[in-house]
């Protein structure tokens, strides 16, 4: 068959067929895999929330945090509540589905803040989400506070594009581990938590090491925690006054 494959008509036909084929096959694959991807993302998010509060050493953590454990633990021990900017509980909402990043972009009065309450035996821990900016991209995480709402239980962090080996250390175990038992408010109730520059500092109860070579990521972490705590402060005050 002799045809001119460089004629405009054929080029248009070729492109149309190509684009239709590609888009149909890609959308089929994408929607076919969607349940799996959604489940992975859900397990990942629930796992991060739990890592801030379930304290085991690094090795145990790797073995313990299977998908089954995460889902089971989350469903059995975590109560989800949503609060408004004044700290009042909004009824009938599940905090897992609240997109904290989107909420922080709304005007303050319209925001919904997600809170996860982890109950283990008699102890209650409050987990709040964090979101901020690292050096290159977004950093995020979860901060777990003990029942007194002053002492930290632990923290978990994630990042999108920090430098591997430098800022990416934010998601490593040793960095998270430092947050255990630190205090975020001083005795007068003023915020005093800070992330220092570099590693190997001698630390007070309100300080954690930064990451050497990644001062901007560390500063971002400091700001991120400060901002989140400020947003949840009214809620904390309410809980404290009730107890």
């Amino acid at each position: 068959m002799q045809f001119n494959k460089d004629s405009n008509g054929f080029i248009i036909l070729f492109v149309v067929i190509m684009v239709v084929t590609v888009s149909i096959s890609l959308s089929l694959i994408s929607s076919g895999l969607k349940p799996l991807k959604d489940k992975n993302e859900m397990v990942d998010k629930k796992g991060k929330i739990l890592k801030s509060v379930v304290l085991v050493n690094e090795k145990e953590e790797k073995e313990l945090f299977t998908a089954d454990f995460v889902l089971n633990e989350f469903d059995s021990k975590i109560t989800q509540i949503v609060v408004d900017y004044q700290g009042n509980v909004k009824e009938g909402l599940s905090s897992f589905n609240v997109d904290f990043k989107k909420e922080t972009r709304k005007p303050e009065q319209e925001r919904s803040y997600p809170v996860f309450v982890y109950q283990d035996g008699g102890e209650k821990y409050y987990i709040i989400p964090l979101i901020g900016l690292g050096l290159w991209d977004e950093i995020s995480g979860y901060l777990a506070l003990k029942g007194d709402l002053t002492t930290l239980r632990g923290a978990a962090f994630d990042h999108k594009g920090e430098t591997p080996g430098l800022g990416a250390k934010i998601s490593e175990y040793w960095f998270r581990e430092q947050f255990q038992d630190k205090t975020i408010f001083d005795e007068q109730g003023n915020y005093h938590f800070t992330v220092l520059k570099g590693e190997g500092n001698s630390l007070k109860e309100n300080q954690v090491d930064g990451m050497s070579g990644a001062t901007l990521t560390a500063d971002g972490t400091k700001e991120m925690i400060k901002n989140s705590i400020a947003m949840y402060r009214p809620f904390f005050e309410k809980i404290k006054s009730e107890s």
């Binding site: 494959k5 590609v22 890609l26 895999l33 992975n40 790797k62 430098t163």
Partner: protein
Amino acid sequence: MSTETASPAQVNSEPLFSKKNRRLITDPFNDSNPITVQVLGICSALAITSTVANSFVMGLCVIMVTAFSNLTISSIRTIIPSRIRMIVQLVVIATLVTIVSEMLKAFAYDISKQLSVFVGLIITNCIIMGRLEAFAMGNKPWPSLLDGIGNGIGYAIILLAVAFIREIFGTGKLLSGTPLEFTVIPQFIYDMGYSDNGLMVLPISAIILIGLFIWVHRAWNSKLVDIS
């Protein structure tokens, strides 16, 4: 992707693994290695070689993409209008990369998170488009598939070699991030004052290593030396 594996035997009267065809796979390991000889695909080789596990997965992804993009382009090479051939090549590459990336997200979520943008950036990996232009546009599907697999493996070998050195000297471990993780450098060496080389975790070390690889490769393989 399985739909694309049309039986290639009919297009070729010579044996499937004739000497010529085998060379298509093995040449990129040595004489025409995409990284150390053709110096293609360096960008991702620098970025994701900090651990062996990442490099392995990245290598697999690239092998998939080079193999199937070569196969696809070669099968339709006679009807691709030459004025838009680059666009067609890019569409095929981008489609395959998207499929690979979706698969990773569905079946290997942790690794897809670690590789982050670099899976998407396979699209810009010069090896793939280079092979499409240089080989698949002018050869039958079966040799093109072999050429794609060969070049993908040639790329993966270098990636693994670089990652091997970077991971040992950068973190003292191997296969970290997988259940098989183990420590290579024993604690007593650290106690004697050794410390991990921070440079090794940075991409800059990869370019130094690849430079050294090219040097060693050329010293060892006399065919690569330009005698003119």
